[in-house]
Symmetry: none
Subunit: 420 residues, 2 copies
Amino acid sequence: MHAHLLTIGDEILIGQIIDTNTAWMSRTLNQAGIAVNGKSSVGDTREAILGGVAHAAAAADVVIMTGGLGPTKDDITKKTLAELFGSEMAFHEATHQRIAGYFEKINRPLPPAMRDQATLPLKAIILVNKVGTAPGMWFEADGKVYISLPGVPFEMEYLMEQEVIPRLRTHFQVRPIAHRTLLTVGEGESNIAKRIEAFEDALPPHIKLAYLPALGQVRLRLSATWPGVLVADAQEKLEAELDQYRDQLAAQIPEWLYGFEDDSLERVVGRLLLAQNKQLGTAESCTGGYIAHLITSVPGASNYFQGAAVTYSNTQKMKVLGVQAETLDAHGAVSEATVREMATGALEALGADVTLAISGIAGPDGGSAEKPVGTVWIAVADRNRCVAFKTVFGRDRMKNIQLSATWALNTLRKFLLDSL
Amino acid sequence: MHAHLLTIGDEILIGQIIDTNTAWMSRTLNQAGIAVNGKSSVGDTREAILGGVAHAAAAADVVIMTGGLGPTKDDITKKTLAELFGSEMAFHEATHQRIAGYFEKINRPLPPAMRDQATLPLKAIILVNKVGTAPGMWFEADGKVYISLPGVPFEMEYLMEQEVIPRLRTHFQVRPIAHRTLLTVGEGESNIAKRIEAFEDALPPHIKLAYLPALGQVRLRLSATWPGVLVADAQEKLEAELDQYRDQLAAQIPEWLYGFEDDSLERVVGRLLLAQNKQLGTAESCTGGYIAHLITSVPGASNYFQGAAVTYSNTQKMKVLGVQAETLDAHGAVSEATVREMATGALEALGADVTLAISGIAGPDGGSAEKPVGTVWIAVADRNRCVAFKTVFGRDRMKNIQLSATWALNTLRKFLLDSL
């Protein structure tokens, strides 16, 4: 079966927002065994939406629309779909009460426009949106399924995961499919591929390996589709088979592997700190609090995170972390000596058992011949030792901040594993 | 005239890459007076490409394709287009020499596959790619234009700016189009719509208003297309007319408006600090460094940002910021009293002229009947005054962190504008 993704909204057509929704949707649908064979974007008019839906449905079994469902008058998706499927509109009390409850919870008065939000096509199956106001809608016509979702990413993701995917798998009787993802950090796609070449060549035809690179990390995804006649326990058998391949693959890349599935470096580090009963503190210059943000994105981080000293100025480095003026004068803020003093100083200043310190030149300005933009020093320290490393990333400020954080968290992870 | 953007390649359909090309292309085309009325993506097969081009051409005067032009065997775009336009393929000596020169310049041997790169449809006008190997192609058929460009972003951008846009402007009589975006924060789509209802209803038919909501913010976009007979200064007249509508709209929402076009709260706050020659420090609990991260995402932030004390534990709040143990005992960490002591304490601790302090319950755990998850207190202080506010967001940790940061930056902005 095939899906077509249709985004509705002029903001995509004039390029004011970058469409990240459909990339996420494509990945999620593919993982659920539903291939995407086309995507398109149309504007906010009745004609454009009707044309877009007709085109989308021509080559697909399911059309998933996003956008054009907000409470204001430029949202005509709902009315156009009602027209297309020959459906009356009706006020839906349950949806209105849910929306009213939502506004009560966030302590805001219920806007009158929310009555329109709860006025829905009678032929639609309502997909309950528990994280926003606009409900999703599911239509069926001529053996095809048409789904309309709000364009706000987290609302779309919630509805895809909770409603759309399970319903589509049941509706279209999708063949059993399974996935295992291995998370690696610190090595590029080409070198990983070289190492695991023999493993990859020996995979049976119903198991595929994909490389999914991101900044500083590569995810390896094994995907299996049940190859033969369907049996009652096909899913379990497929899962068990894939577990074996995952273990084989993991054994070949121990120094790059840090986790599985949806794990993250900050969660892995958090669990290590918790298990070792250690309190962490970070001393950040070039990352400007981004590492602390990643660490505190994990629920329960307060159990192992004391805090961060984001010492953006040299004055702060001296005052808060006790970095010596002589060190800054002799070596500069981006140096091994400074970053080591930041890490050891932070042990006391932040009341931490282990500290991570980072100082670099994020760019786009501030580089020199000796220390180009992208130069970053990091140090990890506890009461017994302090290690420091240097690297040079590129010229892009945001990439440098993100790569620095990934590299720093991985260095901390290895330090905690005592494997540095 | 209208353009349709067609991306070719399985990597888009499986969600492995996020399509940033077409957002850039849309903005660039719009600025040149060429409206994009549709976008679509198809896979790497002859059938998909033929179907995609037919669909694209149905409602547009120009079809701009990207992707599917590399040297590997899965790139069949060129052959499919030759077939579509009934064109023979021929080896193009000038293109081959250009590619050879390119490889010479980057000091790499010329791969044999480059002979294929220089084999091109005879009916195509070749668009010379001076920054890569694959040339662009321009076809004309039945009064429409079909353009094929490589998918590598900087090659596509080069060809768009140097070749495609100038040629399109000559080829078609373009109708002027213009946009203005107003950035608001602190109020939802529905209430903004209510406030500006009369303005919106009075807009002439050639000017449209769109609401683009994001977390805690709503962008309002006015779009105008020249309505009448074309005159020499139509573009300037349209821009001037739209400026007036923008100013009218801005005047109706002064307390929510914070900027225009591609600006951001962190940039606005940064410029205010710079103009007022003030150093900022943040004292963050629930946001865990996220506000500092936003502020330091802006190049040049070191000119006005001293640093942050991310005091995640009570111990740190006392030690670094001087919050009194009695205050924490009597009121808790999430309270007006604590957040005020954090803000005033940070003035000294962070050597700052103005400070922003925040403490809240990000969730998903840690709430109580009196202080539910999502409860957040913020304070902004300088040497003369300290203001504090409370709000309650929802139950989602990441949303709470992001909404808190937006709200805090906006509160700081208003404090700096002396409008609180």
